[in-house]
């Protein structure tokens, strides 16, 4: 050694690190490689044993320590290590500085190689070069797998891939789930279809994701950069592993062969309909390309139309069973799709009308989808068209939802989801579609409404004249056109049995709903407009348990006057002809800001300034609304209800404003004041509220959301956000038992109309239910079947249940048991 070493050099090595422990461990590793040989290594790491940091003075000293005249190679970790090492050079005498090399090699790999090479007598240039090459060796080793990995794997990118397991590929609903997942993250995420080479496309754009044409079995690469890149990639992979939470469509639709259009009428929704044929034709929307005003005005119109349609789609979604609401989530994402709206805005800036620019942007996107090779994905172009038409109608000032008002059996080529979701089961007896498929959104929605339906019945169906007697057998998958009387009679008998039951309920509806043992349960309606109120009154509602007033405040440049509001409230009061009406004060938040009430964007609007919190920041608005309520209260039984209350001070503040609003007169004697129980804190602290309220109305939708910390309408959390969770039921029970005899307790969430929930709520002591107008008759009928004593016992067992599933099982078991039990 000494002989070769005599000709060789003795190069020193300095290890610069923030951490002394790290440096010393690395030196320990290196020492093993050169055991027995003389490695001149010094450490300049950490400010002391445990304080991270680098120190130029210490580095300079270390260099001098190991410099034997042949120079020193300095290896560093990150950040200030470089600055400190550079600074150390300045601190060194000129002749020493000239023989120091700062090496860009990775610390550990570089140190191992450098110490071996230096111990072998190499000069400092060789040592530095070998150290630098250390990473190349590692690269080569690893590159055997991703050797031809192209650009996306470049620095900062995290990647992963998944194989699409969904039967229909990454179509609208799974794509919407993916987009929603990605948008939650602070990361730029791109997708590439590795099987076809399509992409990369931004994963935050639903329209672009769909153009990947990712079918079942295709491999898709996810790459992400940004702060939450890891979480984004992991989230997408986890979602893909769950098939994007797509639930297998029950019934005939689960059979994939049923999607073949030629299979002839396919049963999609069980039951029998007998009635006259009514064909649905949709007039195309006229589009005028000439702008009505300057681009700013046109852009404003588009923004308003998008907002209006968004609200409308949200309303339809909220009416739809959670499992089937995914298509509307997809529609909402399309409305927010930066590619689509961006293209439209570019058109507007170029001087086209809002409608013209929007129509062009929609057509372009629709064409992109329609060009996809997979028939199922191609059919999703219909979603784009449906949403696009909705916006065009809003721009044209037409009714935002094209209501399908027919009495009879509906015949159509296909239905848009909005049309299907808006069908009135009381009037549309059955549905027969010439096209469509059991997996179409329309079919799923029609089924959720309980309307018997068949699809894929063939184009010939559309030639059937209006009024022709039809039988739709949604159980067997048959459409009978003008069948023999005997056949009709058989179907009619079956149908009549079902209809009789519905009719009995409807006929009974106007009467009070009383349990078998004589306990009265008030069943009111949730209404958002005068039209709703009339429908609810006709349906037999015992008043309005919830009048949403938001519609008066949205889509305008200034708030409604007291007179305007008073007119509306009186019209609702008149519709109910003396039955009580509960007016909820304005309930909006940062998710739907009003133009005249600008709110800074909030990271989590549902935990932000909303409901009464917002109202108390603008007491003038609330005072005006309360003034209108007071005036209406002089004319009939009015209650006023405050949303999103958390603490007693909020109630006191509203009461003060109420006194001011009533001035110069007193607050009308008959006006009852209550709060919504949506925040768990109110249910838990209900005693504190009782002295200040006449009634409590439990908003189970929000109470569930806040109790289970599960966002309302989040497609992946539908199972978690279950209002029958025992935790939610306990809050309801606590509220009802403490308030008993001191304040009326009602429930105005969707759960009030759930036949499984009604006995539990009644058993917990809830005195009033408020449901959608269409659910009034059914809810009253459900109440009449109950025995309140049995309900109390059932509720007691439900409170002890381990979860919502057990609650449901308990209720079902109780319903199956003989009434005497």
């Amino acid at each position: 050694m000494t002989d070769t070493g005599a000709a060789g050099a003795r190069v020193g090595i300095v290890v610069v690190s923030h951490s002394r422990a790290l440096a010393e461990a690395a030196v320990g590793l290196a020492a093993e490689m050169v055991s027995g040989r003389d490695a001149r290594i010094a450490v300049a790491a950490g400010l002391d044993e445990t304080t991270f940091g680098t120190d130029a003075v210490r580095i300079a000293a270390a260099v001098e320590e190991v410099d034997d005249g042949d120079g020193v190679v300095v290896l560093m970790d990150v950040g200030s290590a470089l600055l400190s090492a550079e600074m150390a050079l300045e601190l060194l005498p000129d002749e020493v500085r000239d023989r120091v090399v700062l090496s860009p090699a990775p610390l550990v790999e570089g140190l191992l190689v450098a110490s071996v090479v230096a111990a072998g007598g190499a000069d400092r240039a060789e040592v530095a070069a070998e150290a630098r090459a250390a990473l190349l060796a590692k690269d080569t080793q690893l590159d055997t797998v991703p050797a031809e990995e192209p650009a996306p794997a470049a620095e900062g990118h995290l990647t992963g891939s998944f194989v699409v397991a969904n039967p229909h590929g990454l179509h609208a609903r799974p794509a919407a789930r993916l987009v929603a997942e990605v948008r939650r993250r602070d990361a730029d995420v791109a997708l590439r279809n590795l099987t076809t080479g399509a992409g990369p496309v931004p994963a935050g754009s639903l329209s672009r994701v769909a153009t990947l044409g990712a079918l079942r079995g295709h491999e898709v690469e996810v790459s992400a950069t940004g702060r939450e890149a890891r979480a984004a990639v992991d989230g997408v992979l986890a979602l893909a592993a769950r098939s994007f939470d797509e639930v297998a469509v029950p019934g005939p639709a689960a059979d994939e062969s049923a999607t073949t259009p030629s299979a002839g009428p396919v049963a999609t929704s069980p039951g029998v309909a007998v009635g006259p044929a009514v064909r649905l034709t949709t007039a195309p929307v006229r589009v005028d390309e000439r702008p009505a005003g300057p681009p700013e005005a046109e852009e404003r119109r588009l923004t308003d139309a998008l907002a209006a349609v968004r609200r409308d789609v949200e309303r339809t979604r909220d009416r739809t069973a959670p499992g089937q609401a995914g298509v509307f989530e997809a529609h909402l994402l399309l409305l927010d799709d930066a590619e689509l709206t961006g293209a439209a805005r570019t058109g507007i800036e170029a001087g086209v009308s809002a409608a013209g620019a929007w129509a062009r942007a929609v057509s372009a996107l629709e064409a992109q989808w329609a060009a996809l090779p997979d028939p199922y994905l191609r059919a999703r172009a219909a979603d784009v068209r449906a949403v696009g038409d909705q916006v065009l109608r809003a721009l044209a000032g037409e009714a935002p939802v094209q209501a399908v008002d027919v009495d009879g059996v509906l015949l159509a080529d296909d239905l848009t989801p909005a049309q299907a979701g808006g069908l009135d089961p009381g009037r549309v007896l059955g549905v027969a579609l010439a096209g469509g498929s059991p997996t179409s959104h329309a079919a799923i929605l029609v089924r959720s409404l309980g309307i018997p339906a068949v699809v894929a019945a063939g184009a010939g169906l559309l030639d059937v004249p209006d009024g022709t007697p039809l039988v739709v057998d949604g159980t067997a998958g048959r459409v009978l056109v003008d069948p023999p009387t005997g056949v009709v009679a058989g179907y009619r008998t079956r149908q009549r049995e079902l209809a009789d039951e519905r009719a009995r309920d409807a006929a009974e509806a106007p009467r009070e709903a009383v349990t078998r043992d004589g306990r009265r349960v008030v069943v009111g309606a949730n209404v958002g407009s005068v039209a709703d109120a009339r429908a609810a009154a006709t349906a037999g509602a015992d008043g309005a348990g919830l009048v949403r007033t938001e519609i008066l405040f949205l889509d305008r440049d200034r708030p409604p006057t007291a007179e305007e509001q008073e007119r509306e409230y009186l019209a609702v009061l008149d519709a109910f002809a003396g039955r009580p009406v509960t007016i909820r004060t304005l309930d909006v938040g940062g998710d739907k800001p009003l133009r005249y009430l600008p709110q800074p964007p909030e990271a989590n609007p549902f935990l932000g300034v909303r409901g009464v919190r917002l109202s108390l920041t603008r007491p003038d608005l609330l005072r005006t609304q309360l003034a209108a309520v007071c005036r209406a209260a002089a004319r009939g039984p009015v209650r006023v209800m405050v949303p999103m209350v958390s603490v007693v001070e909020e109630v006191l503040a509203v009461r003060r404003l109420l006194t001011e609003a009533a001035a110069p007169g007193p607050v009308p004697a008959g006006l009852r004041v209550g709060v919504m129980v949506e925040v768990p804190a109110v249910a838990l602290n209900v005693e504190a509220f009782l002295p200040h309220v006449d009634f409590l109305s439990i908003g189970t939708n929000d109470l569930t959301q806040y109790t289970l910390a599960a966002e309302r309408g989040h497609p992946a959390l539908a199972a978690l956000a279950d209002p029958l969770d025992p935790a939610v039921l306990r809050l309801v029970g606590e509220t009802a038992s403490r308030a008993a005899g001191r304040a009326t307790v009602s429930v105005c969430g969707e759960v009030a109309a759930d036949p499984l929930a009604v006995p539990v709520l009644v058993g917990l002591g809830v005195q009033e239910l408020s449901v959608a107008p269409s659910a009034v008759a059914g809810t009253k009928a459900a109440v009449r079947r109950l025995d309140s004593g049995a309900c109390v016992e059932l509720a007691r067992r439900c409170l002890a249940a381990t979860g919502a599933a057990e609650v449901r099982a308990l209720v079902r078991a109780a319903q199956d048991a003989p009434p005497s039990a």
């Binding site: 923030h18 400010l47 304080t51 991270f52 940091g53 680098t54 120190d55 130029a56 003075v57 210490r58 950040g79 200030s80 600055l83 400190s84 550079e86 600074m87 602070d186 940004g226 702060r227």
Partner: protein, 223 residues
């Protein structure tokens, strides 16, 4: 001190400046750490506090013979005690200031400003940061430029220092909108925008300390 020439900066003045800087850093320790937590590794407050405390301790009891020697001593102490990138950067700043001031017992305002300019050039060379990179340079550069302009326009030392402190604060504020291109914050890219740079913040404290202490001397001298 009795032997100080009116209007000139003495070793004691420089010591007062360092003392004020250490005090401001101590008072703003948590704020600096919070700023750093947003876009860096949350150690700027602790690092600067450790460094300035040590630097003050090194010169407080027995001040070096000249302003230049004091600045060098402060610089070397910062280099060895700050730990993070601010160590070599602030260390370089004070070392260059010290070198520029030389061994003279006092310095004129023009000499002080020239020394600050040398200090900044050292920082720029060390960190390879340019104006707009969202670093301490964005506070230091406009500050020294403002002082130079004020003196060139014949304004008083008081005005020059006030202008420098004001420009440093404005430069610090301007870093909020910038996208970091140097240091750990640069890993965040666009997401670093919206956060005030911690290095520019401590640099503004350095100029505020200068205005607070040297100004008193200069004001006395200018009347």
């Amino acid at each position: 001190m009795a032997d100080t020439v009116a209007g000139e900066v003495s070793t004691d003045d420089l010591l007062a400046w360092v003392r004020a800087f250490a005090r401001l850093v101590e008072e703003n320790r948590e704020a600096l750490t919070e700023l750093d937590a947003a876009i860096g590794d949350a150690d700027h407050g602790a690092n600067m506090h450790r460094g300035t405390t040590a630097a003050l301790a090194a010169v407080d009891g027995a001040p070096p013979a000249s302003p230049g020697a004091l600045a060098k001593k402060v610089g070397m102490t910062l280099v060895s005690t700050v730990g993070g990138a601010s160590g070599p950067l602030y260390g370089t700043f004070f070392l260059r200031v010290g070198t520029a001031l030389g061994d003279a017992a006092t310095a004129t305002p023009a000499e002080v400003v020239a020394a600050l300019r040398a200090g900044i050039e050292g920082v720029v060379a060390r960190g390879r940061a340019e104006a707009g990179d969202k670093t301490m340079v964005d506070a230091l550069t406009p500050a020294v430029a403002a002082a130079e302009e004020a003196l060139a326009a014949g304004r008083s030392w008081t005005e020059a220092l006030t202008a420098a402190a004001g420009a440093a604060a404005a430069g610090r504020d301007a870093t909020t909108a910038m996208v970091a291109r140097k240091g750990r914050a640069s890993y965040l890219g666009e997401r670093s925008a919206g956060h005030q740079d911690p290095g520019a913040t401590s640099a503004a404290l350095l100029l505020a300390a200068a205005a607070e202490t040297l100004l008193g001397r200069g004001a006395a001298g200018s009347t």
